[in-house]
């Protein structure tokens, strides 16, 4: 990396997140509007670190009831039975059904927790101004952004299982209270990804690696 690295912010320029236009705030103003598409422009997302932490902590809290409360309650003539997400994974495990069981395990348990841990790691390395692994950290963020939506899969599984199995008094399946918290984890982590500003990863690296003439 050369020592002449210059970011748009260093040059006093703002890139529009919507249309990509690079523009300069009028004299005396810090931030303005995009002349092409009317978007409000900022150098970096406002309070990005604080807001991402807030969403992340809220998601981590919801993660506990999401995994301990039942997401499905099966009522048959002989009684009622409640399953958490993990129990659902185990139920799905069979000689023919194990690939689907693995998909649900990945999407519902591993992706949300990996997402929370990864974003926490990214935030901490930004806050400690770490100059290392900037490319890898950006790639990590892109992966989290891309993979995160797949954790919604369990919400859809439970929704349509419950919508179909309605044969009272023989057998019926109802969604449980855990489903709300699980959906909350998905939405909150998506909002955390949205409020995170990837450019902050590089700002910290610029400060330590580059000296401007």
């Amino acid at each position: 990396m050369s020592s002449t690295v210059l970011t748009a912010m260093d040059a006093g320029l703002q890139r529009c997140e919507t249309c990509g236009l690079l523009s300069r705030p009028v004299a005396g103003e810090e931030e303005g509007r995009c002349p092409r598409c009317d978007e409000e422009l900022v150098f970096r997302k406002h309070d990005s670190i604080q807001r991402t932490w807030a969403y992340l902590i809220a998601a981590a809290i919801c993660y506990i009831p999401a995994n301990t409360l039942p997401v499905l309650t099966t009522t048959t003539a002989t009684g009622a039975d409640s399953d958490t997400i993990l129990q659902g994974v185990i139920l799905l495990w069979s000689p023919t059904g194990w690939p689907l069981s693995l998909i649900v395990l990945f999407a519902s348990i591993m992706i949300p927790s990996a997402k929370i841990i990864t974003l926490a790691y990214l935030l901490i390395t930004i806050q400690t101004r770490s100059p290392r692994n900037t490319r890898q950290r950006l790639r990590l963020y892109r992966t989290v952004e891309f993979v995160g939506r797949w954790s919604m899969v369990d919400v859809f599984v439970d929704t349509f299982t419950a919508a179909l199995i309605q044969f009272q008094p023989l057998m019926s399946i109802e969604p449980g209270p855990g489903l709300f918290f699980f959906a909350a984890v998905v939405v909150l982590t998506m909002m955390a990804v949205e409020s995170f500003d990837a450019r902050l990863i590089w700002d910290a690296a610029n400060l330590t690696e580059v000296s401007y003439a």
Binding site: T7, T18, C37, D38, L92
Partner: protein
């Protein structure tokens, strides 16, 4: 405290008296900043089919696409038809001991709502019905509106909101979820895959194809500016911006 700070009510109210000023554009239209790392760099003159990547972080700055609007319009039109039919016919049915049941996409959400899980029902409706409808409907309008030499401002307004609809539209996740549910239910009953399931499977491939074929940058380069006073080249020869 910035006047753009919507989370501070006082600052927000103060801001409503005065709109923030428009930024001024740069004389060099090929100067671009990377969305991933903010590195300032100068792009080469655009050539058809060529893509550019950030010198520092490898983020794609500009992607060359050919025949963008025609392909986008054709794909979006197909998606619109599939979407409408997929939402009006049953997706999944089953028979158990002579009893029959079936559900549409929205039927799943309605069942949740009736069962008192309104929030989750709203989320399912948003991600499986509303967001995909906006995603397809907006793109259909954008692809038609962008055919003019100078697309009008409302095209830009739709393009501002399109990425959000894209983020919350989760038909591919829905399809996987339904397949898992189908396998689960197959233990108790005979599953009858509905027409909507097959349409959905086609839609899941068409929607990313729309995203790949649509060249947003090309439309932004030609569009009428919101603030026409600021160096907007009315001959439509505004250079590429990444």
């Amino acid at each position: 405290m910035s006047r753009h700070d919507r989370r501070n009510p006082a600052a927000f109210l103060a801001a409503s008296d005065r709109e923030p000023a428009f930024n001024g554009p740069l004389p060099d239209a090929l100067l671009a900043a990377c969305p991933g790392c903010d590195l300032l760099q100068r792009l080469p003159e655009p050539s058809p089919g060529a893509s550019e990547y950030c010198a520092r972080c490898d983020t794609e700055l500009r992607r060359g696409r050919e025949d963008s609007l025609d392909r986008t319009l054709a794909l979006t039109f197909a998606a619109a038809i599939l979407y409408v039919v997929a939402n009006s016919v049953p997706m999944l049915g089953l028979t158990i001991a002579g009893l029959k049941a079936s559900t549409t996409i929205a039927g799943g959400a309605k069942h949740l709502w009736d069962g008192g899980r309104e929030t989750v029902a709203a989320l399912v409706l948003l991600t499986a019905v509303i967001a995909p409808a906006i995603q397809i409907g907006f793109m259909l309008t954008i692809a038609m509106g962008a055919r003019r030499e100078r697309p009008q401002r409302w095209v830009g307004a739709l393009m501002r909101f399109w990425p959000m609809a894209r983020t919350w539209s989760m038909l591919e996740v829905l399809l996987l979820g339904v397949l898992v549910a189908l396998t689960k239910i197959a233990d108790y009953a005979t599953v009858v895959p509905g027409m909507a399931l097959f349409l959905l499977a086609a839609l899941v491939f068409i929607l990313p194809a729309i995203q790949v074929s649509f060249d947003a940058q090309d439309v932004w380069n030609r569009i009428e500016w919101v603030n026409p006073g600021s160096g907007d080249n009315s001959d439509g020869s505004v250079g590429a911006q990444a």
